[in-house]
């Protein structure tokens, strides 16, 4: 059923600490490993060792730079001046309470569980139309390039209740693996849970609130760093993003490429 439950008993999700995350991508890899060997179709890669590798992942780590917008007064107080900082930003399904990806699904393959709020895809029912991925503001769903079914974070539903695993492994693979302890798993419906406490303490952020999706996953903001902190070294960091994206737009092969050139010639 692709109508959403009015409310769920638990609201399982992640609190991700942007102050702690070091951008190591270990969570990306352990997620890929667990979800390739377990629930549903494997997460495939095409041309994995070639020039144009493409694969499906359920968790991706972006890296942003945040520059404080300073007033004149703030610039005067040397030492306390807030400085630009690098923020590593892991992103996976936020298991939204008003999940638009679920209601658009024509087949009932996408659903939100009443017991714990986890949003899942029943791959046997998925026709691979892609509409759910269009409906998700966060890019949390990717079509598998080989199986042609929709893949998304399951919150490791096959770990967290799995009595065959030792107690300490009954949490999502990304949480279990994170060397920095930046990822916290718990029940947001329970005000006393670890994650609810963290969010209350640190002021959790919901992503793109204006979309009205009411994400369960919360982000703990990075603490503002100052010039004084900077003295504690900062190695040069050269970002080289977007080259593959730029290449995407030019020299397209096939029909699009032909149309591109034909329209160019029109003057």
């Amino acid at each position: 059923m692709t109508t959403l439950p009015a409310t769920t008993e638990k609201k399982l999700g992640l609190a991700i600490d942007l102050d702690t995350c070091v951008g190591c991508h270990a969570c990306v890899i352990s997620c890929k490993e667990w979800n390739t060997s377990n629930y549903g179709a494997p997460l495939s890669d095409t041309d994995a060792y070639g020039a144009d590798p493409v694969g499906s992942f359920l968790n991706r780590v972006h890296t942003f730079e945040v520059t404080p917008d300073l007033g004149e007064a703030e610039k005067q107080v040397i030492g306390e001046t807030p400085i630009a900082q690098v923020v590593h930003f892991p992103k996976s399904c936020l298991h939204c309470e008003d999940a638009p990806c679920v209601t658009v699904c024509p087949t009932g393959a996408s659903y939100k569980r009443t017991e714990d709020g986890i949003v899942l895809v029943n791959e046997d029912d998925c026709i691979g139309c892609g509409l759910c991925a269009w409906a998700c503001p966060y890019g949390a769903r990717e079509m598998d390039p080989v199986e042609q079914v929709m893949k998304k974070c399951t919150l490791c539903v096959d770990r967290i209740y799995n009595e065959n695993l030792p107690e300490e492994d009954r949490e999502p693979a990304c949480v279990r693996t994170c060397p920095a302890g930046a990822r916290h798993f718990g029940d947001f419906a329970d005000p006393d849970s670890n994650v609810s406490q963290l969010v209350a303490e640190r002021g959790g952020i919901s992503l793109m609130e204006e979309q009205g999706t009411r994400p369960v996953n919360q982000y703990l903001p990075p603490r503002q760093k100052t010039l004084a902190d900077l003295a504690a070294k900062n190695s040069g960091f050269q970002g080289g993003c977007g080259t593959a994206l730029a290449a995407e737009a030019k020299d397209a092969p096939g029909f699009f490429g032909w149309l591109d050139r034909a329209l160019d010639k029109m003057g």
Partner: protein, 310 residues
């Protein structure tokens, strides 16, 4: 968004096909026998080819029947249900107009002129209503998506419906003596199309989405992408950050604006012969394809913000 040819074909052809069915179902014009045969044939042909091409981009078309199940929540599912209902309800009406009316094609086997079938025209009216609903459902698949601000506007269903009924009206205008009405519709369509582009160009900014809201880091400062999460491309970038079409935006807009309404209207007014409708349809389709190409290619998905692009 990526302008997949199968999706452009689907929305464009089925739109015109159902538009023609709307007019035929309402009896504008009332056609019989072979004329009805060709008109219904064209309408069904366009709708069915459109619907079939919509299944071409599916990863698992063999499971397509499952898509009829979630009409309570999903516009895509509703579109499937209503379109099939429209085609089925209209069928007996079409069969009557083609074969069973006096002088109908059924005369070949002595089946024409059956009495007492007048009530079938109400099926035509119902079929017309369902056809209209189909077009509305198609438009809502896109208009419902808050993630694509350019689509998330009330103007989208209005534009889709107007495209559909004016495209349908074109074909029979010379026969039905509805040239003036059709010309007016075509001109309104052209104006609304331009209005959609104007309004759409401002939508993304007006919706208030930015890298700062996307990351929730706006409270700290302004945000830019330092490193993409992957060095190659992926499904999201291919599907939702497509940029080729945008480059030719101005030219394609001009082509669409002229071909969609102005040239077909001129044709209808100057050539008062039955085939002028078909030629006008051909021209209109070129404009319609250009317009739909832009509809997809220009649409910016908010997920682009996480990649520092629109």
């Amino acid at each position: 968004m990526h302008p997949a040819p199968s999706i452009i074909m689907f929305t464009a052809l089925s739109g015109v096909g159902f538009g023609l069915l709307i007019w035929l179902g309402l009896g504008v014009p009332v056609l019989s026998s072979w004329t009805a045969f060709w008109a219904f044939g064209l309408a069904y042909g366009l709708s069915v080819v459109g619907l079939i091409s919509s299944t071409l981009h599916l990863g698992h078309p063999e499971r397509a029947l499952k898509a009829f199940s979630q009409w309570r929540s999903s516009w895509l599912s509703r579109e499937g249900v209503v379109s099939v209902a429209a085609l089925l309800v209209m069928a007996p009406f079409a069969f009557w107009r083609v074969f069973l009316v006096p002088g109908g094609v059924g005369g070949l086997v002595g089946l024409d002129g059956l009495a007492g079938l007048e009530w079938l025209r109400w099926l035509g009216v119902l079929g017309a209503a369902l056809s209209l609903l189909t077009v509305i459902c198609t438009s809502m698949i896109y208009a419902q998506l808050k993630t694509v601000p350019r689509w998330n506007m009330g103007l989208v269903p209005v534009l889709f419906v107007l495209f559909s009924i004016s495209g349908g009206a074109l074909v029979t205008a010379p026969v039905a003596q509805t040239v003036m009405g059709t010309v007016v519709m075509l001109l309104v369509l052209t104006v609304l199309q331009w209005g959609y582009w104007r309004q759409g160009d401002r939508r993304f900014a007006a919706a208030g989405h930015s890298m700062e809201t996307a990351t929730g880091l706006g409270g700290i400062g302004s945000v830019r992408l330092l490193e993409s999460p992957h060095s190659g491309t992926n499904y999201l970038l291919r599907e939702m950050a497509f940029q080729i079409g945008r480059k030719h935006q101005r030219r394609l807009r001009l082509i669409a604006a002229v071909m969609v309404g102005l040239v077909p209207a001129l044709l209808l007014v100057t050539v008062p012969l039955w085939w002028a409708g078909l030629v006008a349809l051909g021209v209109h389709l070129v404009g319609l394809f250009a317009s739909r190409w832009l509809f997809f290619a220009e649409a910016e998905h908010v997920v682009g913000l996480y990649y520092g692009k629109r």
